[in-house]
């Protein structure tokens, strides 16, 4: 029991580190937030459905931040700090868990900021249900955060330095963003079934369920609980594989 206790406090300390670094790097969250708002207003104005796109953009904000939190381990490797973590008498699982917790928190804050802003702007209307919706969106935000961070973690096991960042943006993050249904609706097109392999499709769908329930175009047809289960499964698979590879690898 004591061992588990210590493991938890180590995870907490590692998570705190991620969080502190995020808070101190103001340019990071300002850029990220600005990017989300730009997308939101451009597509919202162009396509004329600001509430749909708002609900779609919140998961994207989490995706951008989450992936990069997940690969912060690459940064640690580059700056040498990973060695300090690796040589400590701490299990790799604890390290993975701690870093994932910190990353999830950071990604969730980013998502929540956008949720708060869009709600304040009235994009989801000002009805009596709004507060309830926001509150029920919070656990979902954490789940999406965890999923994206886990994916980032998985990528980080194959990434040696930040030169590969461009590949990551071009071949993974951007396609995930555009095929998620957040701004373009693929329902009814032959392409639709391909979007189902994108975990972000479920994230967007779940967010619309919660924020826009009752609107006819809120979902492409899956019930909320299925979205949640699919997201959880993706997260689980990503993090397990990441932890496994991380455990098997040599440290230096």
């Amino acid at each position: 029991m004591k061992g588990l206790d210590i493991s938890f406090s180590i995870s907490k300390a590692l998570a705190k580190r991620e969080f502190l670094k995020y808070l101190r790097n103001k340019s990071r969250f300002i850029t990220s937030l600005f990017q989300s708002l730009i997308f939101l207003f451009i597509f919202g104005a162009g396509l004329g459905s600001i509430s749909l796109i708002s609900a779609g953009m919140i998961p994207q904000a989490i995706l951008f931040t989450g992936i990069f939190s997940g690969i912060s381990i690459v940064q640690d490797r580059m700056f040498g700090f990973l060695k300090e973590i690796m040589i400590a008498p701490v299990s790799r699982t604890t390290i993975t868990f701690g870093k994932a917790m910190g990353g999830t928190l950071v990604a969730a804050i980013q998502g929540f900021l956008l949720l708060a802003l869009t709600s304040a702007f009235g994009f989801f209307g000002y009805d009596s249900m709004l507060f309830l919706r926001i509150v029920s969106a919070i656990p979902l935000i954490f789940l999406i955060g965890f999923m994206t961070v886990s994916l980032g973690n998985l990528i980080s096991t194959r990434m040696q330095d930040f030169h590969q960042m461009q590949y990551l943006m071009t071949f993974l993050v951007m396609p995930m963003f555009f095929t998620s249904g957040a701004i373009i609706n693929f329902v009814g097109t032959p392409f639709f079934k391909f979007t189902l392999i994108n975990p972000m499709t479920y994230a967007v769908d779940a967010m619309r369920h919660i924020m826009l329930s009752g609107t006819p175009s809120a979902s492409f047809g899956l019930p909320l609980y299925i979205d949640i289960i699919v997201l959880a499964c993706f997260s689980f698979v990503f993090i397990i594989i990441a932890a496994y590879i991380f455990r098997k690898s040599e440290s230096v």
Partner: protein, 401 residues
Amino acid sequence: MTENIIEVKNLEKIYKSGSIEVKAVKAISFLVAKGEIFGFLGPNGAGKTTTLHMLSTLLFPTSGTATIAGYDISKEPDLVRKNIGMVFQETSLDIDLTGRENLELHAIMYGLDKETRETRIDEMLKIVELTDKTNVFVKNYSGGMKRRLEIARGLLHYPKCLFLDEPTIGLDPQTRRAIWEHIKKLNQKYGITIILTTHYMEEADALCDRICIIDHGDIIALDTNENLKAQLKGDIISLEFEDHNALHQFKLKIKNYPGINAIKEISPKKGPPMMGGPMMGMKPPGIGGKPHMMGGTPPAMSGKPPLNAPPMDKESLNAMMQMMSQKATKMNITIENGSEKVPDLIKIANDAGIKIKSLTISQPSLEDVFIHYTGRSIREEEGHGMNEFVRQMIQARMRSA
């Protein structure tokens, strides 16, 4: 009886990639006593860091075993980790955190409770004299401060053994000396065993109780610095003469002088690298070479130098010949009780009418020891680091595989 804190037996590390196989560390064995300052001395790429990484459980040995404080590095890595502190060659601090936050995180990872953490952090910061910088971000630290903070961090959990990988690399001489003082102080105050790697002779000399000279992954000598130097038996008297003839005559005179262990002529500096080039590949006209006899030179070319080698003018040829004929005018005599023998040696020279231009007497340095064992200077090796290069290449391949 002294207690051994580290016992290493046939420890080996081989990097493999396809058909390439590099032995980074070749089945080395050694013991380190408790409270010792033990140094690995060797050129870059000799296998020092690889050995340290194996001992600190960061790398898995290919074969062989080692125990630290009684724990096996392969079977009980967590217990080994609890008992060692490590300062890496490259900075491993989080520069976005303050000095204190770095130490705090370390202390938590090593399972120290809050109260112990506070007192230890204060204690260690005081030892490395960083108390007033505790809340400064590490990115604003100087190189020496970072090093000191890392040493403090490595000590927080009171390890039995502290590993320092090139602790003063890239630091200015003053800071280097300060770090040496810190290391000595730690060793004396806490009785902590210190294992360090270095390629600086002065560093090994100033700090270490015992030195392990390592080259191409193999231990080539292991002893106290005094003993290592004593193997060169005696002092070194360096003499310089007017010309090689004088040197030669003096050499004959002292051939049977008692107490001399070695006489070594110091050849003048080697000529420019081109010397071996044109002289071997071509025969300049006028030296009586027969170009058409060489290899498959076509008969049409006979009598003419090869196209790619311009004919040499007489002046440069003479200069080259002179350089080649230049012979040593300096020599080192390794002799027991050198200082007592100097007057006698000068008398021998005077009696024979040989003029000595200069004379210096010195104790053998570690550099001399290194030359003695490897047949070359450690400085010559710097920058090559072939082993390291191959290792990185192979690792890169393995990662991309």
